[in-house]
């Protein structure tokens, strides 16, 4: 089968690999029809995630058609159209019993600090991902969700990670009516967090980034007030001025370890890797939120340590909530929002690219070329969907 194949930082090859096989009676093999490139895939692409092995296939946001099921699978059959949450979870461990599907304890032998994910290094379990023609889907009775007929593929694929993560970010911010919410990062997750904040009754939504075309998009799409941090002298000071000098009620970090905006953080977090990524957004979030406010973190950081003003968080009495999204907990609710017209996730897709051009799709997404916000890869065997793919190099 054709699949993405990591060769080193900034190097993705698309090549033939052996088809995946059933390795456990609870497995299914899914033929991929859409696979997104996630902002967090860029952390892999840039070589920042530990135990990322050459030959790895990325991709944790994908939907497809069930091709084959293991002997113990009861709820899926070949031909079912499924969206596959990025979490690989068992449904029965201590954490799954508590609906913390993003923290499953039974699917990742390599680390206890994180659950099992598709295509996200051996630190998250060593599973190949969905930027391929086929993918092995463990615990097929538990993870995948049969897509209702009225939900189109482009919406379904965004329900595997980006939209639930953005929504959960807003939910963890514990927004009350009239609250001012600041979202750091205008990538897909930040855009969805801004959009979702209104559902929770926010009074103001402010998005901070430095990429103008993304700020223009989120200004219309969310809708939101926007701040280009390159145009203000100090972000926290600017947010204080915008909020009567108190600070925002809630701040959401939808950036994670590759933030721009602070030379010190960039130098120590991204260039020399002395800390687990540049924690600029989290630094700003802690200093921009009001006393007794809420911080919600969905931006991805590495497993070692980061320089953040935790003393300020203590002295301000902040509540900090963070997690990988428990995708399946949100999917039924978000489908209802889509049906009612409250959310229109597919509008953020800017590029539909043949899988064969994944090297260039990654480069465009990473370099923010061509007003790229969200890229969907479409494999050759995606059926009729393949006709939607447009080359990014011709």
């Amino acid at each position: 089968m054709l699949a993405t194949n990591f060769r080193g930082p900034y190097r993705i090859r698309v090549s033939q690999k052996p088809d995946p096989v059933i390795e456990h009676p609870g497995d299914a093999i899914v033929r991929v029809i859409r696979a997104c490139i996630c902002g967090s895939d860029l952390h892999l692409y840039h070589g920042l995630v530990p135990d990322l092995r050459v030959g790895h296939t990325f991709g944790h946001e994908f939907i497809g058609i069930v091709e084959e099921v293991g002997s113990a699978v009861e709820t899926l059959k070949p031909g079912d159209r499924v969206l596959v949450p990025f979490n690989i979870f068992c449904g029965s461990c201590f954490f799954c019993q508590r609906e913390l599907y993003g923290n499953c304890h039974n699917t990742n032998p390599e680390a206890t600090a994180v659950g099992g994910f598709y295509g996200y290094s051996h630190t998250t379990g060593g599973y190949d991902g969905g930027q391929a023609e086929f993918v092995r889907v463990p615990m097929a009775d538990v993870g995948p969700y049969k897509v209702p007929d009225d939900i189109v593929d482009d919406d379904a694929v965004l329900l595997t990670d980006a939209l639930p993560t953005g929504y959960q970010a807003s939910e963890m911010a514990d927004i009350h009516e009239g609250d001012t919410v600041v979202v750091f990062g205008a990538g897909p997750v930040g855009i969805f967090a801004a959009r979702s904040s209104w559902l929770f009754g926010a009074g103001r939504v402010i998005v901070v980034d430095h990429i103008d075309y993304r700020l223009d998009f989120v200004r219309r799409y969310a809708p939101a007030e926007v701040v280009n941090f390159r145009e203000v002298s100090d972000v926290a000071l600017h947010i204080k001025k915008m909020t009567d000098w108190l600070g925002a009620d809630a701040c959401i970090d939808a950036v994670g370890c590759e933030a721009s905006g602070s030379l010190t953080q960039t130098l120590t977090g991204r260039w020399t890797m002395l800390q687990a990524g540049a924690a600029t957004a989290l630094f700003w979030a802690i200093n921009s939120v009001r006393k007794a406010g809420n911080i919600s973190i969905v931006g991805v950081y590495g497993p070692t340590f980061n320089a953040v003003p935790i003393g300020n968080a203590l002295n301000k009495g902040l509540t900090m909530r963070m997690n990988q999204a428990s995708v399946k907990r949100h999917v039924p609710h978000l489908i209802e929002h889509i049906r009612q017209g409250h959310l229109n996730p597919k509008e953020i897709i800017t590029h539909r690219v043949p899988l064969e051009e994944a090297s260039d799709a990654y480069h465009i997404f990473s370099s923010k070329y061509d007003n790229c916000i969200k890229t969907v890869l479409i494999p050759p065997r995606a059926g009729s969907a393949r006709a939607l793919a447009r080359s990014v190099i011709h």
Partner: protein, 196 residues
């Protein structure tokens, strides 16, 4: 002197009321109000505004919720997956998980470094530093493996040079020039050293 300082401070505050912790009493009195939030009627024009305002409508409230919803809950622990390749296990676990990935089993020097790394708990920073070191070694191994199989890796293609050419040709030329200057400089320096 103190009076003079106070007079100057007051004058400065009048000129630039946003400076130096000047307190705008009118705005401070407004702190317990809605801080510029538009009225509800206006907010309700945003599709879906407030539909999840009631905490009962929020899927994750409370964070830990039992029993689990929206999934087919299996009976008991999952059946143990058969181990066909070497899979590392965190020392912070009692043993391997029932389900695991089998992609890219460890091999060669990078595999040996990873094997050592997994002897240390996740709580030990050396565990992660060794894994990152192994990743860098693995990149070199990948090139060696390609050459061993008679495949010369198209490194520029893998880095997306075609899209760079299409979307940022000027940048590509600039990068090529900078690379040429740096490489040329290094070569010149080495040749100069050879002469002595």
């Amino acid at each position: 002197m103190d009076t003079e300082l106070a007079r100057r401070d007051l004058a400065e505050q009048r000129r630039n009321p946003q400076h130096h912790g000047h307190v705008d009493y009118e705005r401070q009195l407004d702190h317990d109000l809605n801080r510029h939030s538009p009225p509800r009627e206006q907010l309700q024009r945003i599709p879906g505004w407030g539909s999840d305002l009631d905490h009962k409508n929020r899927p994750a409230i409370p964070m830990e919720r039992m029993p689990p919803r929206f999934i087919h809950v299996p009976q008991g622990q999952p059946v143990q997956q058969a181990q066909t390749v070497e899979v590392f296990c965190s020392p912070e676990r009692p043993g391997i998980t029932p389900i695991f990935g089998t992609a890219q089993p460890p091999k060669w020097v990078s595999g040996a470094i990873r094997r050592l790394a997994y002897k240390l708990p996740e709580n030990d920073v050396r565990h992660w530093l060794m894994l990152i070191a192994a990743d860098r070694v693995n990149v070199v191994e990948g090139i060696v493996d390609d050459l061993r199989h008679g495949h010369v890796p198209n490194v520029l293609g893998e880095m997306g040079i075609r899209s760079e050419l299409r979307h940022n040709p000027a940048g590509l030329v600039r990068k090529a020039l900078v690379t040429a200057v740096v490489v040329g400089g290094v070569v010149a320096l080495l040749k100069r050293r050879d002469r002595y």
